[in-house]
Structures are given as structure tokens and as C-alpha cells.
Amino acid sequence: MTLKNTDVLLDAKNIGHRFFDKHILSDVGISVCQQQIVTLIGPNGAGKSTIVRIMLGLLQPENGSVWRKPGLRIGYMPQKMEINPALPIDVNGFLYLGVDQGRNRIFGKRQRVLDEVGAGRLGKHQMSSLSGGEMQRVLLARALLRDPDILVLDEPAGGVDVTGQADFYALITAIRDRRKVGVLMVSHDLHLVMASTDKVVCLNGHVCCAGSPEQVKSDPSFQALFGSEIANNITIYHHHHDHKHDPGLEKNQE
């Protein structure tokens, strides 16, 4: 019997999975606690998205089990969101899709959440007209509107420029501090992600190493995976704002 830490939100144990005959994951364990930001890194094909899908319940693993804190509310931000241009839907309408309550009851809340992610002016924009950076914030707003206990973000900063990415990770940290949520995210932006994470899990079919960014950086298996050249050159990127952006107006072009 393992004692469940009351702070643990989501806990995957001994996960093993194959696609056809190819082993994608073997004996992977990842847990996320309240207020903790856990970042999954690893090369392409390392199984990052697969483990996330398993932890979300989208995929049944062949081996192992996923424990969820009872009543856990998950806010999920998928890697890609392609809105069929044949479907006319504005940001407000899109946000309403994620909640059970009627539109009138969450009218004010919707605007607060949009403001929180810096997308306050996008409410009436059509989903199919959003840029990569705008879409990212709208997806985050939809996840937050559900008052989640944990945010699960699959490569949230894909298709956004470096400044946009740094801003986004800073936003995630701020949201964690304010809302006391746990965060599980997949990323391959080593430099950017190291600054805004509590725990890094380095995955390559199995967990190569895990720990604080500083620990992982100096771990031999991390150096072996990414090359000591790259690993030693990671300066933990701290992003400082010296000027203000207006995210509602700014277009983050990819």
C-alpha cells in the first residue's frame, strides 16, 4: 500500500504502452501535486503526448494505472486546434462549449477569464481568424473557465515566437500562483521552460531523469540525450518585461 499524499492530483504509475509492435512507453511514472508545475521534455517520438493522453484518460495504457484525486477537474489545452472554417463560431461561443452552466450564469466570468489570459478583446472574434498566439490564450481561457484543479497543456507554445512563448510561460506561472493549480505540460523549448517549472521529467520511452531544472541539467542521462553541448549551454531564461504589450491588439505571428 502506498499512502496517497493529499496534495497529489494526478499520479501515473508503471505505465507501459505500445503502438503495434513498437514500445512507446515502458515503466513510466509521473505525478503532479497541487501548485506544482511539472514539465515533460524529451526528443521527438519520446512518448510525451502519449503519456499525457494516457493521464487524461484519452488512451488506455497496456500496463500501469493512473490515479486521479476524486472529483479532480482537469483543464486541458490540446496541442492543436483546427477550427473548420465552415463552422462559424466566435471566441465567446467557443468558451461556452466547455462549461455546463447556462450562458447567462457565466457571462461575467467569461470576460474575467479572457482578461486573465490577456485575450479580453477577442470575445467577438471568429475562432478561425485567430493567430497562433491568440488561439493559445483562448484555449487556456476555455480550460480556466472550468475552475480546474490541474491544467494539462500539450506543447502549449507551439507555433508562437520566442517572446510570445516566454510571455506564455510567465502567464502559466502567474496562474499557478493565483489559482493554486497543478500544471502538467509538454514542451521542447528547453531554455524557456526551465525558468518556469518546479519539476522536469525527461522522457525517452522511459523516464531518463527527473527533478528540479538544476538537477536535471547536470544529470548525465540528460546530457546524453540532448548532447552535453546543448545541456551545458542552457541558461535558464528569465524573461523580463521592459515594456507593456496589449495582447488583445498584438498579433503573435508565427
Binding site: L58, P78, N84, L87, P88, I89, L97, V152
Partner: protein, 261 residues
């Protein structure tokens, strides 16, 4: 106005009201060809209905649901791509249906009416079935609207947010099969999807919300049916294809008009 004409109009409008909003989902989910495949399988459904001694509509509904569930299961396996799969089943179902019907020749079967509809032969029973089935479809559509839409926008996100995805998919397939079954008599199996897809596509440019698009598509569908019926009456053409052509003309006009979007 002649009695048969009034019945044709009542039936045609009824079909437009259910076909257009469900057709929006075909368009949004890129399922146009999927809908076609379901419609083509209707011929086999008619044959099945005859063999089992059931009403053709029941047979069509049953076979459409089976084909749809089978197709969606097969599409997940990803060994053959969807478009190929649909091509195989669409034409396969049509060919099997025609063969099956050829064997039933002794039973006064009008194949042209099945393929292209026979709206002028609609009777009171047809209208009762159409309107009760249609009411059921519309009520489900309204009741499950948010789920259906969420599922349509992104299945994985919908799943994580607690939408029962398998149920919602099945629900949508059943609604589409019902539309095929009740619309078949009006425009025929070959043209059923035209009343579903063309009105929706015509008014996409003028809609800003999914609800608006469903409503506008319904209006466009009704206009197509009414102008199709009156045109076919005046110039003595088969009503089914005339309705489809009216929808097409409306689409072309819609593309030519300026829009705010």
C-alpha cells in the same frame, strides 16, 4: 391548389426543416461523403425491409445506422484512409442495393422513385411519420446541442471536459440515419445529402454563430423545396432533381452576393 401539391409542400418543408440543421453537422464535421454513403445504403435498406416484411423506412433506418456505426469503427483503425473507405462503401452499398431490388421485380417496385424521390405521391401516413420523426430529431438536436457542438469542434477536448463522446457520436449517426430514412421519399437516395449540405454551405458566409447557420440553412432549405416544387409543377420536371437544382442555384447566388464577413 391540388391536394397532392399541398401534401408535397407540407412534406418538402418538413424534410427541409430537419435536413438543413443536421446537414450543418455534416458540413462542420467534413462528413459530406459519409452522409452520401449512408444515403446510398438506403437501397439495401429498402430491400431488407421487403425481405423482413417491414416498412421500407424502418429498413433504411436500420441499415443506415449499421453502416454508419461500422464505418466510424473502421475509420478509427486507420489502415485505409477515410476517403477510400467511404468510396468503397458508398458505391458498394449502392450496387448491392440495386442488385437486391432487381430480385424483387415482381413487387411493383419503382426504382426511379427510390433514386430520385416521389414527392407528389406522398400520402397522409408519410406526412405523419415524417413530422413525428422530424420532431424527435429536432428535439434531440436542441437538447444535445452543446454536446454535439463541443464534440464537433474537438473530440478530445470534449472528452476531457466530460462529454460522453461515444454516445454523442452514436446520437449524431442515428439522427443522420433518421433524416436519410424520412427524406428518401422526397428527394430520393441519390439526392438526400443535397438537401443537407447545399443549404448549409450556401449560407455559411452570412452566419456568425453555429445557431445562426443552422437557422439560415433551414430557411434556405425551405426556399429550395418551395421553389423546386413550384418549378417542377410549372415546367413538368421530376420534383426531386428540381429541388436539388434549386438548392444549387441558391448556393451560386449566395456565393455571388456581397457579405459582411
Amino acid at each position: 391548389m391540388d391536394d397532392f401539391l399541398i401534401k408535397a409542400i407540407i412534406a418538402g418543408v418538413g424534410v427541409a426543416i430537419v435536413a438543413a440543421p443536421t446537414g450543418c453537422f455534416l458540413v462542420w464535421r467534413r462528413m459530406a461523403y459519409f452522409g452520401d454513403t449512408m444515403a446510398h445504403s438506403a437501397l439495401s435498406g429498402i430491400a431488407l425491409g421487403y425481405i423482413l416484411g417491414l416498412a421500407p423506412m424502418i429498413g433504411v433506418f436500420a441499415v443506415s445506422v449499421i453502416i454508419a456505426v461500422f464505418l466510424s469503427a473502421l475509420q478509427k483503425r486507420k489502415t485505409v484512409t477515410s476517403d477510400t473507405l467511404l468510396g468503397i462503401f458508398s458505391h458498394g452499398a449502392l450496387a448491392i442495393g440495386i442488385l437486391a431490388i432487381t430480385f424483387m421485380e415482381g413487387r411493383r417496385f419503382d426504382i426511379m422513385a427510390t433514386l430520385f424521390g416521389d414527392i407528389l405521391a406522398v400520402n397522409n401516413t408519410d406526412i405523419t411519420i415524417l413530422y413525428s420523426g422530424g420532431a424527435l430529431i429536432l428535439l434531440s438536436l436542441i437538447y444535445f446541442w452543446r454536446r454535439l457542438l463541443s464534440f464537433t469542434v474537438n473530440e478530445e477536448l470534449a472528452f476531457v471536459e466530460g462529454v460522453p463522446v461515444t454516445f454523442t457520436n452514436l446520437l449524431l449517426l442515428i439522427m443522420l440515419a433518421m433524416v436519410v430514412a424520412i427524406a428518401m421519399k422526397i428527394v430520393g437516395v441519390l439526392l438526400v445529402t443535397s438537401l443537407m449540405i447545399i443549404p448549409a454551405a450556401s449560407i455559411r458566409r452570412f452566419s456568425r454563430t453555429p445557431e445562426q447557420m443552422a437557422l439560415f440553412a433551414t430557411i434556405a432549405g425551405i426556399v429550395s423545396v418551395l421553389s423546386g416544387i413550384s418549378l417542377s409543377f410549372q415546367i413538368d420536371t421530376p420534383p426531386g432533381p428540381t429541388i436539388a437544382v434549386s438548392a444549387l442555384v441558391l448556393f451560386v447566388i449566395g456565393q455571388a452576393l456581397p457579405s459582411k464577413n
